[in-house]
């Protein structure tokens, strides 16, 4: 397995380089190149896709494939112009007859060159097969399975192409445009008999019908009765010793939600572990296609429910990038400030639950004590403790109330002291050290290959934080640093705990600076672009035009131009990317969320073998997954 150039060596690649290089190498197999909102997209012929990816990885230092997703250009659903013509107007794409239905998108990231590039292939409906990239980037495993599950595009050569989010019994692929949303009409009635008649109508079978576990690499299928099968890693298949298969979850107190892990154990020792996800699959991406852009923000909250404001921010930034909307200075400051409060609240839960799983229950109660203060801040600005929907396209929903700065300042002052308390409790705690140092060690090579981001990646010594590297919302003007592992290129539970505490301190630094700026900066918190944001109330009584804008925005919403953009932000868990595709109507054509937990979870089956089940709960906590974020 080749890993790209060491990250300490800065190479002098330019963003344009991949295009030239791939053109030289593959000639007319590069079908089209387009540039939209600063994003480079190369449309390649299907057969060269693995070679192109390999060239990107080995020759151009694109060491991560962060995301794979697909769009369905089935035009039946909406009266939209043919997006192909508008997206790639200088391309020979119009030669393809009939227009391809599926478009698979691969997003590559180079840490060394700080660049992104996107490859895309077009697939016909009756031949929706793409070659797999799992040989080049192991981390696309889950992503390709997701595309197969939700969109029905098959990946040839994938080691385990099974449904990942939906039950195995599901018929159809829900994100296809010809798959209905599945709306169930609910008749409102006060008639108690009618209400009663609706209840307890479809009692499902008492047991889940089928579950398949898989560990990548060579596999052996093991039927375990009751319709359950498990496929187990050959590397750990030790026929001399008797092994057993254990089901952990989806109802388990230490899996941080409804994660299910299929375990193969020899005694207490784990020899194979495979996460089985989808028990919280909510269909949010499909639901968003039926909501206007403003209404879709409310759904973003409910994905990563420990960091709702980060999700709001990612979505809003993506729409703003698509529409090229400027955000006022004061709104930018508020976004940074509240985004960092979110990061602290999220890390508090991460550290608290991690410590509780290992046995330090008092850390959990301390963490939740402090989290309440962050909740109070969110409640103050938005009225809701968790599901704030505070950031809107073009700014923030409304300005902060009086007393906000004092409350935040008090929070910051308190948190500095409380972080010291946590350190006193855990840093040198011999039990904590024994249970965490060196436990779950994984290397930088694994982290890059599997698409890990955020603290999980920084724990392996990669100095990479999107707030600094690909800055947004004015993060580049703040004085802070992203803590990373400077001692080794191996991450473990303790290292992640250490980094999270350091990150919280850095967040406090950012909040202090933002508070100072907030005091100096007045002005609106919403853009004055009337095509995006409704005019203030007093204008309505004076200007006919304002009235029209108000009416149009609240009845049908705004209509971004045709095209798709990918915007990534640094959420507490890692790279949170929103791919938003617009067909020119007031509702998104497709919203895909590249969630950090989804990719980070893949490390579990690589680090778990060799540890005992009691360590596994610590490992799950280390990945800091939120199941809403994984399953969406």
């Amino acid at each position: 397995m080749a890993i790209a150039t060491p990250l300490s060596e800065t190479t002098t690649l330019r963003v344009g380089d991949p295009v030239t290089r791939l053109r030289e190498k593959f000639g007319d197999k590069i079908l089209a190149v387009s540039e939209f909102r600063g994003e480079t997209t190369l449309q390649v012929a299907r057969e060269i896709l693995p070679d192109a990816a390999r060239a990107l990885r080995d020759e151009l230092a694109f060491d991560q494939c962060v995301d794979v997703t697909a769009l369905d250009w089935h035009l039946q659903a909406k009266n939209a112009p043919n997006p192909h013509e508008l997206l790639f107007n200088d391309s020979p794409l119009s030669d393809i007859e009939p227009p391809a239905r599926f478009q698979v998108l691969y997003h590559f990231l180079s840490h060394a060159a700080n660049a992104r590039v996107r490859l895309t292939v077009l697939l016909q409906e009756d031949d929706a097969v793409a070659p797999t990239l799992t040989d080049v980037y192991r981390g696309v495993n889950f992503f390709e399975r997701e595309v197969y599950d939700l969109m029905g595009v098959r990946f040839e050569g994938h080691p385990f192409l099974q449904r990942i989010l939906l039950p195995q019994t599901q018929v159809g692929h829900p994100l296809r445009k010809d798959f209905a949303l599945g709306y169930e009409p609910v008749e409102f009635t006060h008639n108690i008999e009618q209400i009663e008649a609706r209840k307890v109508k479809n009692v499902p079978p008492a047991r889940p019908r089928q579950a398949i576990f898989e560990v990548d690499g060579g596999t052996t299928e093991v039927p375990i009765g009751g319709g359950l099968t498990a496929t187990i890693h050959e590397r750990f298949d030790d026929s001399a010793n008797e092994t057993m298969l254990i089901n952990m979850g989806p109802h388990h107190p230490s899996t941080h939600g409804v994660l299910r892990v299929g375990l193969q154990t020899a005694g207490e020792k784990i020899i194979g572990a495979m996460p089985d996800i989808g028990y919280l699959h909510t269909g949010i991406e499909k639901n968003m296609e039926y909501k206007t852009y403003t209404k879709a923000i409310t759904l973003t909250d409910r994905m990563d429910y420990l960091a709702p404001l980060s999700n709001n921010l990612g979505f809003c930034l993506a729409v703003e990038k698509l529409m090229q909307v400027d955000v006022p200075e004061r709104a930018q400051i508020l976004r940074v400030l509240l985004g960092e409060v979110t990061r602290i609240a999220s890390h508090l839960v991460a550290i608290g639950t991690n410590a509780m799983d290992i046995g330090a229950v008092s850390m959990f109660t301390y963490a939740f004590r402090e989290r309440e203060y962050a909740m109070d801040i969110f409640e103050m600005v938005s009225g809701a403790r968790m599901m704030t929907s505070y950031f809107r396209v073009g700014g923030c929903a409304l300005d902060v109330p009086m007393g906000f700065s004092d409350q935040v300042r008090e929070f910051v002052r308190m948190m500095y002291g409380r972080i010291k308390e946590y350190r006193a409790l855990l840093d040198k705690n011999p039990i904590w050290e024994e249970r965490t140092i060196g436990v779950g060690a994984y290397t930088r090579a694994d982290a890059l290959q599997l698409g890990l981001t955020g603290p999980m990646l920084r724990a392996t010594g990669v100095n990479w934080d999107l707030r600094l590297a690909q800055s947004y919302s004015g993060y580049e003007t703040y004085d802070f640093e992203a803590p990373y592992n400077t001692r080794s290129d191996t991450g473990d539970i303790y290292e992640l705990y250490r980094l999270k505490l350091l990150e919280m301190e850095q967040s406090l630094r950012i909040i202090e600076q933002a508070l100072e700026r907030l005091r100096k900066t007045g002005g609106p918190v919403m853009t004055t672009n009337r095509k995006v944001a409704p005019p203030p109330k007093q204008e309505l009584q004076q200007s006919m035009e304002s009235l029209i804008h108000h009416f149009k925005l609240w009845t049908e919403g705004f209509k971004p131009p045709v095209g798709f953009v990918y915007q990534a932000i640094e959420s507490p868990r890692g790279e949170l990317g929103y791919l938003i595709s617009s067909d020119g109507t007031n509702k998104p054509h497709r919203v895909h969320v590249r969630t950090p937990s989804f990719a980070n979870l893949q490390i579990l089956s690589h680090i778990a073998p060799g540890y005992s089940i009691s360590d596994l709960v610590g490992l799950i906590a280390m990945t800091d997954i939120v199941l809403g974020d994984v399953d969406r």
Binding site: V186, R302, E372
Partner: protein
């Protein structure tokens, strides 16, 4: 001393300590119902966002232990209250049903939040439109997610319901909010 009824304002500390507090007369079933409300063991079971608020409710700030409810049991066989905290997907539904079936009688269910009550904002292919499609629910709590205070209020409503001896599992949406 033992059969003498002492008015409450004349109770003295030493007598309280020895437990000599006089005699009270109950119907046995009332005493049982009263006792049931005082030590409910909820199932440690969270699905989505509401589970975080549920954790906040039994954590330090709101401290559900005040109601004798802090002993969350991870095994359904030791629990008598299921709080369905979050959206129930169609993949999860058989699991929820199985957990409910494993709980011993008597048992109660609280549908916490809009999603568990009626599907919430998700009316789509993946989400069950209310957990009452698969198990009987005693108390519905609105909110997305409900505040910890709302959850406590819902729990107290359930206590009231148990004290009044309403048949378990019968869904009385129309009057749960009016009592108490």
């Amino acid at each position: 001393m033992s059969n003498q009824v002492i008015p409450a304002n004349q109770l003295r500390a030493p007598e309280e300590k020895t437990g000599a507090m006089g005699t009270a007369f109950f119907k046995l079933e009332d005493a049982v119902r009263w006792a049931r409300t005082k030590s409910m063991w909820p199932l440690l079971f969270g699905l989505a966002c509401c589970a975080i608020e549920m954790m906040a409710t039994f954590a330090s700030h709101y401290d559900l232990a005040r109601f004798g409810m802090e002993v969350y049991r991870a095994s359904p066989r030791q629990a008598d209250l299921m709080m369905v905290a979050g959206r129930v997907s169609r993949k999860m539904a058989p699991v929820v049903r199985q957990l409910y079936d494993q709980m011993p009688e008597p048992k109660w269910v609280i549908a916490m939040g809009d999603c568990a009550s009626c599907g919430g904002v998700y009316n789509n292919y993946a989400i069950l439109q209310g957990v009452d499609e698969i198990i009987p629910v005693d108390v519905y709590i609105s909110g997305c997610p409900p505040r910890p205070e709302a959850l406590m209020y819902g729990i107290l409503q359930l206590h009231e319901k148990i004290k009044h001896g309403e048949p378990r599992g019968q869904i009385r949406i129309e009057n749960w909010g009016l009592r108490g």
